[in-house]
């Protein structure tokens, strides 16, 4: 009797959704559902991947004026934009990890940048950007330092670095860095973008903060 009583009441929204999902299909064959699911899965993943890669291009980065007018402008003429071999490292090569897991984490964190662009407009003008620059730079230094400069090492590696073809000063410093277990960002701050005032002191603070964690 209690069953009849229950069926008379309209179930809640989540219960109805759950029932729709949990009820076996009475119309489609198992094979159709399997193949259709497979095809839909490929389409979805392909679409997701394409969208993700679309946001991982220089063109996408500089579609915001904050990036185009400040950091992209400074990057012009830097060694990663213009050099003897013609190989370029674009924005995502340094600022987005290559491995899938860290990449997705970085992408999710980057949603704060969208919030800053559309809502708070925190770096909307060059003056605002300049005010925030040291904090923005410190974020990147912290990220680089904590991952042993992972994005640099996608291309640069001590093990394949021929110190004998380097300027003697560079070779000495690189050997020293290798011996002391230093990482790229420990010396190479501001290689693609302008440095803010007091950058060395701030970098020391970042290092100390990470050492205490």
């Amino acid at each position: 009797m209690s069953d009849t009583y229950k069926s008379e009441q309209r179930p809640g929204l989540f219960r109805r959704i759950w029932r729709f999902i949990a009820t076996p299909s009475g119309v489609f064959s198992l094979g159709f559902l399997l193949i259709a699911g497979f095809v839909a899965g490929i389409m979805f993943w392909g679409g997701f991947h394409t969208a993700l890669e679309m946001t991982n291009t220089e063109t996408f980065c500089i579609s915001c004026h904050e990036m185009e007018d400040n950091v992209y402008a400074e990057y012009q003429g830097s060694v990663h934009q213009n050099n003897g071999s013609g190989v370029r490292a674009t924005c995502p090569d340094c600022h987005v990890p290559k491995d899938w897991g860290p990449k997705i984490v970085r992408k999710i964190k980057a949603s704060k940048e969208l919030y800053g662009h559309f809502v708070t407009k925190s770096i909307w003008t060059p003056e605002k950007f300049e005010e925030m620059r040291i904090d923005l730079a410190a974020h990147e230094w912290e990220r680089m330092k904590s991952t042993d400069s992972r994005e640099c090492r996608n291309c640069h590696n001590f093990e394949f670095m021929d110190f004998t073809v380097q300027e003697s000063r560079a070779a000495t410093s690189h050997q020293q860095a290798l011996d002391e277990g230093k990482t790229c960002i420990d010396c190479h701050q501001g290689i693609a973008h302008d440095l803010p005032a007091g950058y060395l002191e701030r970098y020391q603070q970042v290092v100390e903060k990470l050492a205490n964690e």
Partner: protein, 145 residues
């Protein structure tokens, strides 16, 4: 009367080759893309490199010359990348020569911990050198020469 095929083909081939050679002769000599004969040595404009040895002073008050490249170094109101190594506090760790202590004295003779504002722009006095020939004749003689 039927002739064998091979001599006829060979004869035709010889005729075509001769005609081709004659045409090539009449078109003139081979033009090279680099604008010089193939057996001619073409020199390219030399690329001059940064001198990397320590430089002697050419006269007593000469600001020391820079024995390394400084191409991408930022020296502006915000930052001075030279000081990353040459500031007295950083120099020992980086194995770099320290700035002269005169650079920590301002125009009123007051000494400070940080480099004097008047000495901030290093490359107003200190410059790197390349192994290029002089652009104009120079009769300057260094001290001791």
């Amino acid at each position: 009367m039927k002739q064998p095929a091979l001599p006829r083909v060979l004869a035709a081939l010889a005729l075509v080759t001769a005609a081709g050679a004659a045409f090539a002769q009449s078109a003139g000599s081979v033009q090279s893309l680099r604008g010089a004969d193939v057996d001619e040595t073409v020199t390219v404009n030399p690329i001059f490199h940064q001198d990397e040895q320590r430089f002697d002073r050419a006269y007593r008050q000469q600001p020391p010359l820079i024995p390394h490249t400084i191409d991408k170094y930022q020296i502006d109101l915000k930052a001075n990348e030279c000081l990353g190594c040459h500031e007295w506090a950083n120099a020992p760790a980086r194995g770099a020569p320290t700035l002269s202590m005169t650079h920590y004295v301002d125009r009123d003779g007051v000494q400070s911990e940080t480099v004097s504002a008047g000495r901030w722009f290093c490359n107003q006095c200190h410059v790197p050198q390349v192994d290029a020939p002089e652009l104009v004749e120079n009769t300057f003689k260094a001290f001791g020469q």
